[in-house]
Symmetry: C2
Subunit: 334 residues, 2 copies
C-alpha cells in the first residue's frame, strides 16, 4: 500500500496525492475529498523514511536524556512533548548511558537521522565546548547554561544553580546554623553539582567561614542509596553538624533515612535542606525544605527555544528560570 496504490484507486496522479498529504493549496476540493476518502479507507500512512529522505533534515526532534532514573528529567519530558505536540512536532527520546558522551552521540544521530532539532536534558559544558561545532541543527541544553560557549544554535535554559545553593545556605544560616555539612554530586567538572557546591562555598565564605571539603563534604550519586551512604559517612566523621544540605531531593531522602537510622531526628537533631522540590520532599515525613526548580517551566522554555530555532531564529537564547526556597518542616531554629 503506497502512494501509487492510492493514486490509482482515487483516479489521480501521485503528485496530486502527495499535495493533499502535505496540505498544499493547489488541489481542487473535489480531488482533495476523494483522495482523503481513499486514504482513510485504506488506513494509508505515508512512509516516513521516504518522506524524510526527500525532504531532507526532517526527522522529529531528538531528545537526549543524560543517565537513566533522573526524576527531574522524567518530569520534563511530559510537558516538553505536550508543548511541541501543539505545534505538531513529535519527539523521539534517547537515553544515554552515564559513560556515553552526549555530544558525540548527538553528532552521530544528526548524520544518520537529520533531526529538525535536538534537546539535551543534562550535559557537561566541556563536551559541548569540544565538539558541538559539528552540530548544525537548533539545540537546547536544559538544566545547565551554554551561555559562555557562544554557539549560535545552542540555546539553554536552567536555574542559577550557584545562587540557588547560596540561598539554601543563607536560609540555614538565618535559622542559626553554623556547622553545615553538604552531601551529593561531585567536585569534578563544571556540572550542576559542582556549581551548587561552589555557590554554597561562596555563601559560607561571605559569612566568614571557609568550607572544609575534607571534613564537611561527602560526594555521592543522585540516588537514594548514594544519599544514605554519604550521610552516614559524613555523620560518622563529624560530630558537631547541626544541618545537612543535600544537593538533590533523592539524596535528601536517603539522608533522611540515614539520620533516622542513627536514632537522630530531623529537624530535632539535624536540619535538612534538599534541592529540586520533587515528590520526595513534598510527601516525606517530615516534609523537606528544598529549592524548587519547576520542571514545567524548564520544559516550556526549552520548547520555545527549540521552536524558535526551527523557525529560523539566528541567535541562541540563554534563559535563567526562577528558583524558590520552599520552607517546610525539616529545618529548625537554633
Amino acid at each position: 500500500m503506497d502512494i501509487r496504490d492510492i493514486a490509482a484507486q482515487a483516479g489521480y496522479g501521485v503528485g496530486t496525492v502527495s499535495r493533499v498529504i502535505n496540505g498544499q493549496p493547489n488541489v481542487s476540493e473535489k480531488a482533495r475529498k476523494r483522495i482523503l476518502a481513499v486514504m482513510a479507507e485504506c488506513g494509508y500512512e505515508p512512509n516516513s523514511n521516504a518522506r524524510y529522505l526527500k525532504m531532507r533534515s526532517q526527522t522529529p526532534v531528538a531528545v537526549f536524556v543524560m543517565g537513566v532514573g533522573n526524576r527531574l528529567f522524567d518530569d520534563i519530558i511530559g510537558p516538553l512533548q505536550a508543548r511541541l505536540a501543539e505545534e505538531d512536532e513529535d519527539i523521539v527520546v534517547t537515553y544515554l548511558d552515564d559513560d556515553a558522551t552526549e555530544v558525540r552521540s548527538a553528532i552521530e544521530y544528526q548524520q544518520a537521522r537529520h533531526p529538525k532539532a535536538m534537546a539535551f536534558l543534562g550535559g557537561e559544558p566541556r563536551y559541548f565546548a569540544e565538539s558541538f561545532h559539528e552540530i548544525e541543527v537548533p539545540c537546547v541544553l536544559v538544566t545547565n547554561s551554554a551561555e559562555g560557549l557562544g554557539f549560535a544554535n545552542l540555546s539553554s535554559v536552567t536555574i542559577d544553580n550557584e545562587a540557588a545553593a547560596a540561598r539554601a545556605i543563607e536560609h540555614l544560616w538565618e535559622r542559626g546554623h553554623r556547622r553545615i555539612g553538604i552531601v551529593g554530586g561531585s567536585r569534578t567538572e563544571n556540572n550542576v553539582s559542582a556549581q551548587r557546591l561552589s555557590g554554597a562555598e561562596a555563601a559560607l565564605r561571605e559569612r566568614g567561614v571557609s568550607f572544609d571539603y575534607e571534613r564537611d563534604y561527602e560526594p555521592c550519586s543522585f540516588l537514594e542509596r548514594g544519599g544514605y551512604d554519604a550521610a552516614q559517612r559524613l555523620l560518622d566523621r563529624t560530630g558537631d553538624l547541626t544541618a545537612v544540605f543535600a544537593l538533590g531531593d533523592v539524596i535528601a531522602f536517603g539522608a533522611l533515612r540515614a539520620i533516622a537510622d542513627r536514632g537522630l531526628s530531623v529537624p530535632g537533631d539535624i536540619s535538612l535542606v534538599g534541592f529540586d522540590d520533587t515528590s520526595f520532599s513534598q510527601f516525606s515525613v517530615p516534609r523537606i525544605t528544598t529549592i524548587r526548580q519547576s520542571s514545567a517551566l524548564l520544559a516550556e522554555r526549552a520548547a520555545e527555544a527549540l521552536l524558535a530555532g526551527m523557525r529560523g531564529a539566528a541567535e541562541a537564547t540563554h534563559e535563567l528560570v526562577p528558583f524558590e526556597l520552599v520552607e517546610r518542616e525539616s529545618v529548625r531554629d537554633l
Copy 2:
C-alpha cells in the same frame, strides 16, 4: 557527504562501500581498510532514512510508554535499552498521553516508520483485542498479560497481579488484621489495578469476608497526591480500619503522609502495605512492606521476547515473572 563522495574518494564503487558499511564478507581486506579509513576521516554516517527506505521495515525498536511519570516504567527503560544495545538494537521511546489509545498510536507508527519491533509499557487488553490484528511486527506487552488475546506476534511479561495482591492481603491477615482498606487505581477495565483489586477481594472472600467497595475502597491515580487524598477520604469514612493496602508504592507514600497528618502512626495505629518496591518504600520512614516486582527482570524478559520475535520466532511467549512480599517496618501484629 554521501556514499558517492566516499566511494569516489576511496577509489571504489558505491556498491563496495555499501558492503563494508553493512559488514558483508565479499570485500577485499584492502578495500575494507581503505574505505573504513576514508569514512572515519570524513566522519561519514550513512543516512538512515535512505537505508531504512531500501531495507524496508527496519526502523529501530519502538517503545510506547503509557502515561508520563510512572516510576516503574522509567525504571524498565534503562535495562531494556541496555539489553537491546548488546545486540546492536537501538530503541526509540514515545510517551503517550493518558487519553491516547496505545494500539492506535502503534498502528500509525507502524505504517509510517516500519519499526523492527514494538514494546508497550502498560496498556489495556481491550484495546489490544480491538485492533492489534492490524499490527504485523513482533511486539511485547509489559506489566499486563496478553495470553488470552492469542496474537502470534504479541508476547507479554508481567507478574501475576491477582496473586500478588492476594499475598499482600494474606500477610495482613496473618498478622491479625481483619479490617483492611484499599486505596488506588480504579475498578474499570481489566487494567492492573482492577486485577490487584480482584486478587485482594478473592483473598478476603476465601477468609470469609466480603469486601465492601463502597466503604473500604477508595480509587485514585498513581501519584503521591492521589494516595494522599484517597487515604484521607477512606479514613474519614471508616473509623475502624487497622490496615491499608495501597495498590502502588507512590500511593502508599502519599497515604503514609496522610496518616501522619491525621496524627496517627504507621504501624502503631495503621499498618500499611505497598506495591512495586520502589525507592519510596525502601527509604521512607518507616520503610514500607511491599510487593516487589523487579523492573530489571521485566525488562530482561521483555527484551528476550522482542529479540526472539525479530529473529523470526513464530509464537508469542507469555511470561509470568516472580513477585515477592518484602517485609519491612510498616505492618504490626495485632
